[in-house]
């Protein structure tokens, strides 16, 4: 099967019109010395055979485990209506809306997505999405460097472990001075350590709320101080938490980024996910990524276009704000439809359910002898416990019972022996929580 409609007869007619006797003549510009032999791969297979093959592969994946593991990527409920809408070919088979007259569907959806992100974060302006939360954070950092012209970057240790690693990978060739600030005993950004480092050489401070350890913070004091030195404050956020928690805008954050996976995107073994970015109007021309704006046609009818394109690589080339060409439009559409389906009350309810269930589980687990909290800061839906034995062993024991009871931190942090990061979403029931607690108690 190759999805090619033309027959040999069609090709014969076409070649005749070109005055050629074989398709090979069309490739004559490629010297024979550069041609390859037949590909060393199998013959094509039928759909019947391949369905069976892929079904068998899925059986080699343990995809029916109950997740109490997050780490920035959460097992949230996805309404059936969402897949029905985004599964329309009119949404998934076009490309970037370069021609607005025939792309109003995608363009209005991206405009609504930008609006939703603004409403959720409280920020003034958002772009039409980036690859994922990690690359969005990297783009925010380079944006801050461009705005300030400074080369020192401060990263809080509470930023997602993976994102910190990504920032390092991306900047190896840029000779930045990147400094990490530890978390305090409570589990939040250490104010004492941070204050010492703030001065007029710093481009940005990179924070996360709730942080990687699940601790909730209010960065208002940090932004107040940082702004005195002209420092840009960036915060990565968990969008679901904003159904309950203080918005980045209410903390005077300058650039907000985040991973939109929790907004209706399945875990999918790591992708595709959705990066989002929002900022204040003052910085809109420094923001990377596609942006959709409202305008009129010549008859005064409202419509949408890609705008501020003078920032972008296809016009500015090496002077562009970023090398980004595409966004994650289809994932952004998923997030938009999710937010619209849940609506104002639904998003608050999801946030409240996550919060209540996590706090219930936390208290339940703390009743187990020798299980302690690592940090004391308030939590949203994730927390760190210190167990009486290695968390990786405990996690392994519980997988046999159908639970992924958390993520082992001892492997990644020196001072976190026996520590486990546990997350709860609205999908976990009281019964799941009770069974997990019993199983965990038995395993310790």
């Amino acid at each position: 099967m190759n999805y090619i409609p033309n027959t040999d007869e069609d090709r014969k007619i076409m070649l005749k019109e070109l005055g050629l006797s074989s398709i090979d003549e069309l490739f004559k510009i490629i010297p024979h010395s550069l041609r390859c032999k037949d590909l060393d791969i199998a013959q094509g297979k039928s759909e019947i055979e391949l369905r069976k093959y892929f079904k068998n592969l899925t059986k080699k994946n343990s995809s029916e485990l109950a997740y109490f593991m997050g780490g920035g990527f959460y097992d949230h409920f996805i309404p059936a209506t969402l897949d029905e809408i985004v599964g329309r070919a009119e949404f998934y088979t076009p490309y970037t809306p370069y021609q607005p007259e025939i792309s109003q569907g995608t363009l209005q959806a991206m405009f609504e997505f930008q609006t939703s992100i603004c409403k959720l974060t409280g920020m003034e302006v958002a772009n039409a999405s980036l690859y994922d939360g990690g690359t969005a954070l990297y783009e925010a950092m380079t944006m801050a460097i461009r705005i300030t012209g400074r080369k020192k970057v401060i990263v809080c240790a509470g930023v997602n472990l993976i994102y910190k690693t990504m920032l390092k990978s991306y900047t190896k060739n840029l000779f930045l001075n990147m400094l990490e600030i530890p978390v305090s005993e409570e589990g939040i950004t250490s104010r004492a350590n941070l204050k010492k480092e703030l001065n007029e050489e710093v481009a940005c401070v990179i924070l996360q709320n709730p942080n990687f350890f699940g601790c909730v913070d209010d960065f208002s004091d940090i932004t107040e101080l940082a702004h005195k030195y002209g420092i840009i404050v960036i915060s990565s956020v968990y969008p679901i938490s904003l159904g309950m928690l203080k918005t980045p805008a209410e903390m005077n954050i300058d650039i907000v980024t985040g991973e939109g996976q929790s907004l209706g995107i399945p875990l999918s073994f790591g992708g595709p996910y959705l990066g989002f970015m929002a900022t204040i109007m003052k910085y809109v021309r420094k923001m990377p990524g596609r942006i959709v704006g409202e305008t009129n046609d010549k008859n005064g009818k409202k419509g949408y276009v890609l705008t501020l394109q003078a920032r972008e690589q296809h016009i500015r080339r090496e002077n562009a704000t970023s090398n980004i060409c595409s966004n994650e439009a289809w994932c952004a559409l998923r997030a938009l439809v999710y937010m619209s389906l849940l609506g104002k009350e639904g998003i608050k309810e999801v946030a409240n359910l996550c919060y209540q269930k996590a706090n219930y589980l936390l208290d339940r687990l703390l009743q187990i002898p020798n299980v302690e909290r690592k940090f004391s800061a308030p939590i949203f839906n994730e927390f760190v416990l210190k167990l009486p034995k290695k968390s990786s062993e405990v996690i392994n024991d519980l997988i046999e019972k159908g639970f992924v009871c958390g993520f082992p931190l001892e492997r990644y942090f020196k001072d976190m022996d026996h520590c486990i990061l546990i997350a709860v979403t609205e999908k976990r029931t009281k019964e799941d929580i009770g069974m997990l607690a019993e199983a965990l108690e038995a395993a310790l």
Binding site: S129, T295, W330, S340
Partner: protein, 480 residues
């Protein structure tokens, strides 16, 4: 059409969630709570469904319209691959599972997909190893340039420049620049390929690498590519292959044989994964033997017992460029596509893509200026400069094509051709579709003399006419 927010009515609900089955243990302190009320839409499910179904109808798309958008390879997206990408055995997998003890055993099926797909890509391109992490073509470019930088850093080379022909996609210079390199743009010659003399003049010890697209954005194959590679290698530079146009070469030649050290492939182009209205794509990045150690981590490896595992143990790696293993579900679709086509099917891709492009080019050459009168590969560029003298520009022609139910080609790119119109039919279009499209282009060319206002005022009959892009920038309205 109103936005979803304008349709919001207080108290309306779509999805309902279960009531909490656990007691509220503690309230979070007020200082951590959101103060401003969340103002999301409040709509009933039927209103929401109609809103988005109606929006969807305002899009042209591959499933409804011929979409010859040059350099974007808008081929048909097989439905079978969509079905595979919905299997819960893939969609419900948490990406952190393999990082648990023995966790790799919980995701053997997914790791096998990645491993087998990488193997197929090495066989198709001749490269030694791939990383599936890059999430788009431009992301692959950036990954590749980070590999270039890591290579030179290890050797202690002081290199500052990347050479890029002026016909390249804008992402090439942007990627090189954000990775810390100075970009040197090399002009094209009259045949539409990189000017060899100017290239040689720019080549010195400061050159870290050269980025080429093959065939280039004019759809032209540079027959001197091997010589260019050899010259770049002589100054210890690396050759980067932008695989945006690999659809023209698949099964015909391998980037490794052309002398390329690093390549990216746009899975959403060559391997038929849907473009999604602008993403997600995937930009698998491959390297030659000597650069393997620099590829991102983790890598997927096959153990002696036939099981698969993730390998993080590469001290020279450029590190993580994606949070996990790339856009896995896009990779899964591309893998199903390759398995469906097999070796004969893949070879037919390039042959039919090239035949289709030449067939259309031949029909148009009497009516439009052909800036580089050579045979093209999978796409070609014509110029509307003859028409422009009469006041009809490439953009006008693009808009008029919409009246014929065709998505317009890429216009005003590549920048080196005045009034450029870049056409890429792809192999999945039939002769009849190509005939109809060529006929529409010819009709428009004739209208330039007979009925120019028909073109100037196009599109006709769509819900919306040409939009004021200047107003959009001047009076920024970026949210509802």
């Amino acid at each position: 059409m109103k936005t979803i927010f304008e349709k919001s009515i207080k108290g309306r609900r779509a999805v309902r969630l279960p009531k909490s089955d656990v007691p509220l243990i503690r309230e979070i302190h007020d200082k951590y709570k959101r103060k401003k009320e969340l103002e999301m839409a409040e709509v009933a499910e039927i209103d929401l469904v109609r809103h988005y179904v109606q929006l969807s109808k305002k899009n042209f798309c591959v499933d409804a319209n011929f979409y010859p958008l040059g350099s974007c390879t808008m081929k048909y997206n097989p439905k079978f691959a969509e079905e595979i990408a919905k299997y819960e055995g893939f969609t419900n997998l948490h990406p952190l599972l393999p990082q648990l003890r023995y966790g790799g055993m919980l995701t053997q099926g997914a790791l096998e997909v990645m491993y087998n797909f990488e193997m197929l890509l090495t066989k198709i391109t001749g490269m030694a190893e791939f990383s599936l992490q890059p999430m788009a073509g431009a992301h692959g470019e950036l990954t590749g340039i980070l590999v270039v930088a890591a290579y030179h850093r290890e050797k202690g080379n002081k290199k500052t420049k990347i050479l890029i022909p002026d016909s390249a996609h804008g992402t090439n210079p942007a990627s090189a620049s954000i990775a810390g390199y100075k970009v040197v743009s090399i002009p094209s010659d009259k045949n539409g390929i990189m000017d060899m003399e100017k290239f040689k003049a720019a080549l010195d010890d400061e050159v870290a690498g050269c980025m080429l697209t093959s065939p280039n954005t004019l759809g032209i194959f540079n027959p001197h590519v091997k010589e260019i590679s050899d010259l770049v290698h002589q100054v210890d530079g690396l050759m980067y292959y932008d695989g945006a146009n690999f659809n023209a070469l698949i099964g015909k030649c391998m980037p490794a044989d052309l002398g390329f050290d690093i390549i990216h492939l746009n899975l959403h182009k060559t391997f038929a994964t849907p473009h999604g209205g602008g993403g997600p794509g995937a930009g698998a990045t491959g390297v030659c033997q000597k650069l393997r150690k620099f590829l991102p981590i983790p890598r997927v490896v096959e153990r002696k017992d036939g099981t698969f595992a993730l390998d993080y143990d590469h001290i020279n790696s450029i590190g993580y460029i994606a949070p996990f293993y790339g856009n896995f579900l896009v990779v899964l679709r591309a893998y199903s596509y390759i398995l469906t086509l097999g070796k004969e099917g893949l070879k037919a891709v390039a042959e039919n893509a090239v035949l289709n492009a030449n067939y259309v080019l031949n029909k148009l050459k009497k009516y439009y200026d052909i800036p580089h009168p050579v045979s093209c590969l999978h796409e070609f560029v014509i110029s509307a400069k003859k028409q422009a003298q009469k006041g009809i520009h490439a953009l006008d022609i693009a808009k008029r094509l919409m009246d014929f139910n065709f998505h317009p080609p890429t216009v005003y790119f590549p920048l080196i051709v005045e009034e450029s119109i870049m056409i890429e039919p792809t192999e999945t279009e039939s002769k009849e579709t190509l005939d109809e499209f060529a006929q529409a282009m010819i009709t428009i060319a004739k209208e330039v003399d007979g009925n120019p206002s028909m073109i100037k005022e196009a599109p006709h009959g769509l819900e919306i006419s040409r939009l004021d892009e200047v107003k959009a920038v001047k009076e920024l309205k970026l949210r509802g």
